[in-house]
Subunit: 350 residues, 2 copies
DNA sequence: TTGAAAGCGTTACCAC
DNA sequence: GTGGTAACGCTTTCAA
């Protein structure tokens, strides 16, 4: 019942608990003889260090908090998966939290993380203002924000505007001259799309924005909005579609089909995130890739760097926040490739 | 820097640390006067109990381990999400672990959970033998197995065989008389399909099994296997398809299309899990629903029950394991509904 | 009703 | 090199 402790080992090996601790941590020299004796008993009794005690004495908890809105979204799921794996490789465990869309939930979950003494937090906010961030700042908990940039925080994100530019370039080269973006009007993706389109002589009225909700796995609202759009005058005239994520893109394709507009014959559609949805759907969906493994890796790296920087040496020297900006890439598939083949990579067989 | 502790409160409120602890836990009477003073300072200083210390003294860590193979699979993602939310409502945090398909990884991750003194573990094994379970058993950590049954463990799962029966009934009523199951030959889903089909006079050679891999988000292998099947003599003759999950079902639909067999005109296809993939694909996919919220809820409940049972009162009385068996349900959509409308629910508009 | 004090399992500082 | 021992923040006897 009662787990085997450092004292049990000490007793059996005829050394002090301190010595056992020393061989465990290996920072200080211990005589070969005692070291062997200790190790022997450790394996013999199956001793496993109690991380809780280790945490209490002031070293670290080796626990990260990971805060997302909804793992059901495969983009988040991939991030969660890879962050967890990366963290594990560095000896950290991951406490997962969902916030839904709720600001209140975000606050509560972050409170619970703080009580648990996590060493750091990785947060993927959905709303542009993450109310939990101020708590984290106040608690001096190293934090990195993924997929958005927040002044004063470490962050790793993808250049959404550049993504928009690439999508516009792709759709233009595929022969489209009128566009609709499905997402928030203030999104950098739209800004990029608009910038590139305008610079190619597209008139501003040929760039519409259909406002739809973020991140939800439910797409009924999106389909309704899309149908309404395709029945409108502008809707009937536009052929180049860009959506804030793959879900929305597919919902738009489906809605369009019900309005008699088929993809890719009548419409060129591009999604975002390049989740497996893009691969499995027919027509397969052109989508903008976020380099998730790279993002997750950088996030964990940034956190580890902070943790080490926060060590004894540089107590108060709050280093400048690091903002890593990664570049997107577009994977061209059927949904946007009827009119012309672009130079970008087209996945085989689709 | 140094967080505010119970001693700080005690000092300010002119009481002993013990008293502060008492008002915190509220199990013992403390005079109104002191109780107010303490509470006042608690809010004034923003005191938050240190769960690590609480854990060390021998109460609980209020941490569950949650072990899955891959959150990228939306079925697992939904489980993870709801388990986390349920756990949170009961005051528990969730440490997430991925095992991929690797038995070694499973062992390692579970070791790390044990070092972290988690109060219990919820595990969704992919392989029918979960090597980590023996570790958990040895460590006397309350464990509940989700989506499979393991003798000697609490478990909550869905009756896959019943699901197979329902699918067979549905496909039969839709006019299909020859079947293929995509999955493992020893799966209860296939057993159910077979049982029901045979009992309706279908001959055994009209029930094929195409063996494909579990749970991966990658479906290229599945598509290859499916194409091979549809080019074979049996393949050409079978029209009723049942797959171990929605991914595989969609891959089969896509592969079939490339072999000139369209769904639902030539094929009736049914998936499993009823993930949003089923809803968003065209044709929309008929699928067997696992009641995930119920499963997650039960899992957390079972764990809590164990934890309380393990309390001081009944130290060694290892209660009989509970095996909760839930019933599946089939949601009929386009992919299987050309030939006849069955009596089961058909989602609107699809 | 309340306070003093003994741990919980580790680490780290200080002597030897 | 190594052993004693005081923390870490909290809960829980045991007295008072």
């Amino acid at each position: 019942m009662a787990s085997v402790t450092i004292k049990d080992i000490a007793q059996r090996a005829n050394v002090s608990p301190a010595t056992v601790s020393r061989v465990l941590n290996g920072r200080v020299w211990v005589s070969e003889e005692k070291r062997r004796a200790v190790n022997e008993w450790i394996t013999k009794l199956g001793y496993k260090p109690n991380q809780v005690a280790q945490t209490l004495v002031g070293t670290r908890s080796f626990l990260f908090g990971l805060v997302v809105t909804d793992v059901s979204n495969p983009f988040f799921a991939d991030i969660v998966k890879i962050v967890q794996q990366e963290a594990y490789l560095s000896g950290y465990g991951v406490v997962l939290c969902h916030t839904g869309a709720s600001r209140e939930m975000e606050r509560q979950q972050i409170d619970s993380l703080l009580r648990r003494q996590v060493d750091g937090v990785i947060i993927v906010p959905s709303a542009p203002d993450a109310p939990g961030l101020v708590k984290l700042r106040k608690a001096h908990v190293p934090t990195v924000v993924v997929s958005q940039h927040h002044p004063g925080f470490d962050s790793v994100s993808v250049d959404h505007e550049a993504g928009g530019v690439m999508v516009a370039a792709h759709l233009l080269s595929a022969g489209h001259t009128s566009f609709a973006y499905f997402g928030k009007p203030d999104d950098a993706k739209l800004a990029g799309l608009r910038k590139e389109a305008l610079s190619h002589g597209v008139s501003s009225d040929h760039i519409a924005c259909v406002e739809v909700d973020y991140d939800s796995v439910e797409t009924v609202d999106v389909e309704a909005a899309a149908k309404e759009f395709f029945h409108s005058a502008t809707g009937r005239a536009t052929t180049g579609i860009f959506a804030l994520n793959d879900f929305v893109a597919l919902a738009v394709i489906n809605a369009a089909a019900e309005c008699g507009r088929s993809t890719p014959e009548d419409l060129g559609v591009v999604g975002f995130d390049n989740t497996y949805l893009a691969r499995i759907h027919r027509p397969a969906l052109t989508s903008v890739v976020q380099p998730i493994p790279e993002m997750a890796h950088q996030a964990v790296e940034l956190l580890k760097r902070r943790l080490n920087a926060a060590g004894p040496g540089s107590e108060n020297s709050v280093a400048e926040p690091n903002a890593v900006l990664l570049h997107p890439r577009v994977v061209v598939r059927k949904s946007s490739s009827s009119r012309a083949e672009s130079g970008e990579l087209l996945e085989q067989g689709l």
